[in-house]
Amino acid sequence: MNLKNIKLFFDEDNIANLSLQSKNTLINEVFINDFIETIDFIYNNKNIKGIIISSDQNHYNYDYDLDFLLSLKNSKSIFDTITKLSKSLRKLETIGIPIVSIIKGEIKLGGLEIILHSHYKIASKDSNTNFYFKNMKYSFTPFIGGTQRLPRLIGINESINLFLSDKILSAEEALEINLIDEIVDESQLIDKAKKHIIQNPVSLQNWDDNKFKNTKLNPFSSENLGYFISKIASLHANTVNHYPAVKILMSSIYEGLNTDINSGLKIEARHFTWLIQNIETRSMIETAILFNKKEKIREDIISEFKKSFEENYAAEGVRLLINGVSAALIENAGKRLDFKAGPLEIADSLEIQCVINQLDSTDAAVASLIRSMQKINRNGLSKNKGFYDYNEGIKCNIWPSLTELIPESKIQPSVEEVETRLLYSSINNIFFNYTKYSAIQNAEVCDYMLIKEIGFPFWTGGPFNWVRKYGIEYFCKKSNEYSKSFGSRFVINQDIIKILKST
């Protein structure tokens, strides 16, 4: 065997020691092939008494190779690649002899997915042993059985909460929730693992044991159903029809936990295959790759962009109001885009005077509305009165008399139309500032800054990325229509079109 990622040796007790090499900590094609080769080798050696999985520096900071994941292109190749690894690990898990993981250091999700295949998990009593979860709302779901094994090990609700958090679990916390089985001094790790193997010559997972029953694993059990149903609602509301990984996580768990692990693994793989091809998922992975590069952007540039972006967003909301769109619809459209608040709430928080900064000569009605409100002291949050009523800074409701100043049209646009206008206005504002402040090196850095520093919706992958993914020509056509109806702020600079078209 010529393995790059795994070291394998057999000790005097005929125990296979399988050590993951930390030099290459990414789960990608090379890793997958190494793993499969190793497992096949072990599987065919009938004298082996047990297997100890470790990492050469006792780290399991295996993460997913994002470039590799993005390189997977069609459904069949994605499904085949991931099920190849998943099946191989399943073969290991069902081999019959005990498999023990010894755990120390930093454990990331990819490492955890591998550890979950072992029958017994021993962690080092060391403050550096920590399990790192990363909220998968902004990325993708596990695909090496994580969505099936973690709930089966610690419970449905508990695993959903961990998967959708940025929690760091210490070894003690992991032991408490049944994620691991034992904590020992580092020097005892190997001995304890061997002892376990010798004392338990036959070993299988709870989920492969017909006698094992746990109501925590049934989505329909009385202790799970109510929680599960309201969790779906809160996640649906929180993800506003974006961030598909959340729904996919819930579906993988729900569908998988209603059956056995073998079907569950297929369910997980099929969902992942869909998810990784989803346009929003790919945008978010691209953003994550940029995050890893840790671009540095000047603070003054960030604050200039932020100020202009928020004022423009607020002003567009007020313009919609002037057009007769209902305030609730405008605010909900902003929230559905996953901006941090609706435009009128932002106007209040900045003081409604901010809207004036963004107006042009066609906006006389907007200016007049703002002045009327200022006359009656509705200047915004600081006065506890603006487009909303506030009680000591806490938002209560949209000002009921707003419709007396600006009547609502009888016929309201669809929320999608309002969303599109807010999004296009925001993107064109960013493009305008991008050409104005040449201090930003490229479009990707601009996308990164908008998401990381300014609160542009993560699911878009940034304004440049979004326009490229959803179609440059359509964007130009729609912006052109908007510029004719609503003003020059929708006119696209020719330089921007060139940038968009260059990849």
């Binding site: 779906i232 609602a233 649906h236 909900n332 309201q412």
Partner: protein
């Protein structure tokens, strides 16, 4: 097409749907069997002539599982040739069962059938049968699932029904129900539930609170506000982005009561009327079920009523009395507004807010209620309708003969 003639309507009293309720000690199959036995004896039937028993039941699991209709046929010691089928159209199951029995007769495929329903909500609680609609993330996301109470509050918000409006409606339901009992208006259909020794267990609808006032209702906290905060309000607003916030106006006092009960309607053709010398009380003019937007869920009654009216070549103004299931007060208010029907014609003897809503049985119960009242007032036409989970509605029009 044959006429589907209604010969008899029977129902049990409604017991409070909790452990302390009077019917909690009676298994649901016994409730259903008592209804069948009563239909047999009141009409001197040779049950060999009955083709089918169709029973609505919304949670057909546990002791309501395994086809409770056929089980009830066996328990009632009806002839073994009588088949039984359990149907589920959520809250309209009992009416759907009547419609299916009527359709069997109308199409000539049956001569005599029973449609009805049963639900022991104290023994098989609400929600026990689970379901993909609310628990499967894909389905729940795609259909914007919210629990029915949130839908009722969404409906009230969208159509501007205030807490005062829904509470006033509830008070009138209690008054009407209590008047109806005082004047013994349910006597034609109601059968007391007795034990195996003929000792009475329950003889009246025990859920009623005749002393209900605006003040007493005003003290009740909204039931669905907390649930709304779990995320359901936001899901409703995702679907209805024109709404700023859901106003939670419904509570235990202006929503249908959780109760136990069973009912049956005997439907047959003219030959059976002649054979048993039964006087047909009414005929089924038309019936219809529809699907409507599932998040607001409860707007279906108006649509299903209009569809049934159209099939019968009738207008809403041709209907003398309506029974519109009082799932939530706002549902009835919306129904009356949509069809432009005056409250004086709707639920004249109160409804489920006062009397309770044994899910699978209610449709058959209120058909009996409206027929009894048509006879008492010597009026001709009645329309029965219910709102239905997941956005549906079912309606039936009857006409006295």
């Amino acid at each position: 097409m044959n006429e589907a003639l209604i010969f008899d309507t029977v129902r049990t009293p409604r017991g409070k749907g909790k452990k302390s309720g009077s019917l909690n000690e009676v298994a649901p199959v016994q409730l259903a069997a008592k209804v069948l036995k009563s239909i047999e004896s009141r009409n001197n039937l040779n049950t060999e002539d009955v083709d089918d028993v169709v029973l609505g039941c919304v949670h057909p699991i546990g002791e309501q599982g395994a086809d409770i209709a056929r089980t009830a046929v066996l328990e009632a010691e009806w002839h073994q040739t009588v088949s039984g089928v359990q149907v589920d159209r959520f809250c309209a199951s009992g009416l759907e069962a009547v419609n299916i029995a009527a359709a069997q007769v109308m199409s000539g495929q049956a001569s005599l059938s029973v449609g009805g329903g049963v639900e022991s909500m104290s023994r098989v609680p609400l929600g026990s049968s689970g379901g993909a609609w609310m628990a499967d993330p894909t389905v729940a996301y795609n259909s914007y699932f919210v629990p029915q109470g949130i839908s009722a509050d969404l409906l009230a918000t969208k159509y501007n029904y205030s807490r005062n409006d829904v509470d006033s409606y509830a008070v009138s339901s209690q008054k009407r129900a209590s008047e109806a009992w005082k004047n013994n208006k349910f006597k034609n259909s109601i059968i007391p539930v007795k034990d195996q020794n003929d000792l009475p267990i329950l003889e009246v609808d025990e859920y009623m609170r005749p002393n209900t006032t605006m003040q007493s209702l005003g003290a009740l906290e909204p039931s669905f506000e907390k649930m709304g905060k779990y995320g359901f309000d936001d899901v409703a607003i995702l679907k209805y982005p024109e709404i700023e916030a859901i106003k939670h106006v419904h509570h235990a006092g202006n929503s249908s009561g959780i109760v136990d009960g069973a009912a049956g309607v005997l439907i047959g053709n003219k030959e059976m009327a002649d054979k048993y010398n039964l006087k047909p009380r009414a005929k089924i003019r038309s019936f219809a079920s529809i699907g409507s937007e599932p998040t607001i869920m409860l707007t279906g009654p108006a649509d299903s009523a209009e569809k049934a009216l159209k099939k019968a070549n009738m207008n809403a103004s041709d209907i003398d009395l309506f029974e519109m299931n009082e799932a939530f007060a706002a549902v009835v208010l919306r129904f009356m507004e949509a069809l432009n029907v005056d409250h004086s014609k709707v639920n004249v003897n109160g409804g489920a807010i006062a009397l309770g809503h044994p899910l699978g049985a209610t449709g058959a119960i209120i058909l009996g209620t409206v027929l009894d009242e048509l006879e008492r007032r010597n009026l001709s036409t009645g329309l029965i309708t219910l709102c239905v989970g997941a956005g549906m509605g079912t309606a039936t029009i009857i006409e006295r003969v």
